[in-house]
């Protein structure tokens, strides 16, 4: 099994295209860093002495909004309640909002790039099985003393490893660039999270790793779906197209549906953002972390079963 994964890894990284993807991620982080540093030099941040008054004004505004719209909309209600609770907590514990840009804010900023990693991982996953067919090498690959399911599993593991590697690169490069350009914050502030109606302090470093992990769950699910389409239809364009479409449109469509229908909670994309259970509001009221995990697991198993069943049974005529 290990040797099969080495094989896939070699095939992946001996192609120029893969290295380009890795390069893009690194360049992107450097670019964002340079841009933010330039901004910071142009407009140096000002220490805000009156932050307590400002926050109080904001709290009052939020309270009014909560009275007005909040009662009809569970999501907005939760949103305002969260804002108010966190701001009150800051005033109470004398935690001034961080004004200086630092390494943590930079890493957090770059979480937006996980979307790109999602796209890249989908591209890799979509080509994993279908390109063996289009190259014709599938004929030499499947006549070895290895079961087809083992070969498919090694390919899937390679996709997951690729995704994990890209995320690690993003996090580590962001940390290095962030440290070099912006440095550590003067005093280490905790991350304030809103859980079950209470404000909790968390370590920033661990919180960021956790957030990276949570935001990559939809990448994992979409890559798994692309991999399944690739194995079932042997067509990488279809796999890339469909997965990217769902990646960009899936959550908006789900949100639209979730506002009206309760069954929207069974849609894959209603469950991919697990971060809402740690710090935020779920798309449909009454959804729980356990529910989402079970749904994700069911989708995962469905994709895998389809891929493995079709791949092991198929006649190779190409």
């Amino acid at each position: 099994m290990g040797k099969l994964i080495i094989n896939e890894w070699v095939k992946l990284f001996r192609r120029a295209g893969t290295m380009v993807l890795v390069g893009i991620v690194i360049l992107m982080v450097l670019g964002i860093g340079a841009f933010l540093k330039y901004e910071e030099i142009q407009n140096p941040p000002q220490e805000n002495q009156n932050w307590k008054q400002d926050l109080t004004v904001q709290i009052e505004g939020d309270r009014a909004a909560l009275e007005e719209t909040g009662q009809n909309n569970a999501n907005l209600k939760m949103f305002y309640e969260r804002q108010i609770a966190i701001n009150e907590y800051q005033i109470e514990h004398d935690l001034a909002p961080e004004t200086n840009y630092n390494v943590w804010s930079f890493i957090s900023e770059n979480m937006g790039a996980i979307g790109f990693i999602g796209v890249f991982t989908i591209i890799i996953a979509a080509g994993m099985v279908s390109s063996e067919f289009s190259w014709g090498t599938i004929k030499l690959l499947l006549i070895r003393p290895m079961n087809r399911s083992k070969i498919l599993l090694s390919k899937y593991i390679t996709v997951v490893l690729f995704g994990v590697m890209m995320l690690t690169i993003l996090y580590v490069v962001s940390a290095v660039v962030g440290l070099a350009l912006f440095g550590l914050p003067e005093e280490s502030l905790p991350h304030l999270a809103f859980v079950n109606g209470e404000v909790v302090e968390r370590s920033l470093f661990l919180n960021l790793i956790g957030e990276y992990f949570l935001s990559s769950i939809d990448v994992l699910m979409l890559a798994t779906m692309a991999f399944m389409i690739s194995a079932v239809f042997r067509n990488s364009s279809l796999a890339i197209g469909l997965s990217l479409f769902l990646m960009f449109m899936g959550s908006s469509i789900t949100m639209l549906l979730a506002a009206r229908y309760e069954w929207a909670k069974y849609i894959l994309f209603a469950n991919t953002n697990l971060a809402v259970y740690f710090d935020g509001v779920p798309p449909v009221e009454g959804m729980t972390l356990t529910f989402s995990i079970v749904m994700l697991f069911l989708y995962f198993v469905l994709f895998q079963l389809l891929a493995f069943f079709v791949f092991s049974k198929r006649d190779v005529a190409a």
Binding site: V10, K11, R14, W135, L140, L142, I143, D315
Partner: protein, 299 residues
């Protein structure tokens, strides 16, 4: 001699259409077995079933005592194959391609890889990317790929497709060497008859998914009678009539031809000289495999 491969009443149906209808034959140890048939006869489908790329609808295929259906890995480890063109990873070097396959079998050493590369004559170019290879080098790398694990049975589907005469000759020499010196069995499929004649010990002809005939190459060509061509001087009328009525001869520009058994030739020559016909030469016109093939398949 023990048989390396046995097909037992193998059938293949795709979408209710029968592609292969009950093939049974065996390939013995150390022989080159030809698989001959017109395009679309089912050669490639049969080969794909033997190597497990396609499922068998009915019947069974046994390789070195292991059924490809029940013990796929046990059976396939004795096979080295090229199915149609040997497609390789073009972005890898020849050596990296071989490493891919070496990792999928147990116990293939660096030395073994070097030995196989040497055998197919790719030592100079093995560390170059496959996209720079010519068609002939592709074929040689393909051959190297299937020899890595010392298989008992080599399956080559159209191995000389697209090769020049020198390349074809080379493949032929490799096959002779592998069967004579290493006791491998080889299955070769082709529709190029003249080539099969030179390569194979036995030939199976299939048509429309059915086995028509399995024969050893020599008996396949010779048959009972043969065609003889006589080169003579001018033949006079009475002799012509005599030849036509007694021998069923065909008069040609340089003499005549006769279809008869070999042992009757000396008698004919004596009679011709007695009749005063000038005789310059006699030769057999061997029926080519092509003639026989067309004869058998058009029945």
């Amino acid at each position: 001699m023990t048989s390396v491969l046995t097909l037992k009443n193998v059938k293949k149906t795709i979408k209710r259409k029968t592609i292969i209808n009950g093939l049974s034959f065996s390939v013995l140890e150390g022989e080159v077995f030809g698989f001959l048939g017109p395009n679309g006869a089912g050669k490639t489908t049969t080969i794909r079933m033997i190597v497990g790329l396609m499922e068998i609808s009915e019947g069974d295929i046994v390789i070195c005592g292991k059924s490809i259906k029940d013990d796929f890995t046990g059976a396939i480890r004795h096979i080295g194959a090229i199915v149609e063109n040997p497609e390789m990873y073009k972005f890898l070097t020849g050596y990296q391609n071989l490493m891919q396959y070496a990792r999928m079998h147990n116990g293939i050493s660096k030395g073994k890889i070097a030995e196989v590369v040497e055998l197919v004559g790719l030592t100079d170019r093995i560390h170059e990317k496959v996209k720079t290879y010519s068609l002939g080098m592709h074929q040689r790398l393909g051959l190297a790929q299937c020899l890595l694990h010392d298989p008992k049975l080599l399956i080559l589907d159209e191995p000389t497709n697209g090769l020049d005469p020198a390349g074809i000759r080379e493949i032929r020499d490799h096959l002779r060497m592998l069967t004579r010196e290493r006791g491998m069995s080889v299955i070769v499929s082709s529709h190029l008859l003249s080539e099969m004649e030179l390569m194979c010990d036995r030939i199976a002809i299939i048509q429309n998914g059915e086995l028509i005939d399995v024969q050893t190459v020599n008996e396949f060509i010779d048959g009972e009678t043969a065609l003889f061509s006589f080169e003579t001087g001018l033949i006079n009328k009475p002799e012509v009539t005599w030849l036509k009525s007694e021998w069923d001869a065909t008069i040609t520009e340089s003499g005549f031809t006769v279809e008869t058994a070999r042992e009757k030739i000396p008698g004919l020559i004596k009679k011709l000289t007695a009749k005063g016909v000038d005789l310059y030469g006699v030769k057999t016109i061997a029926k080519t495999l092509e003639d026989r093939f067309l004869e058998v398949t058009s029945k």
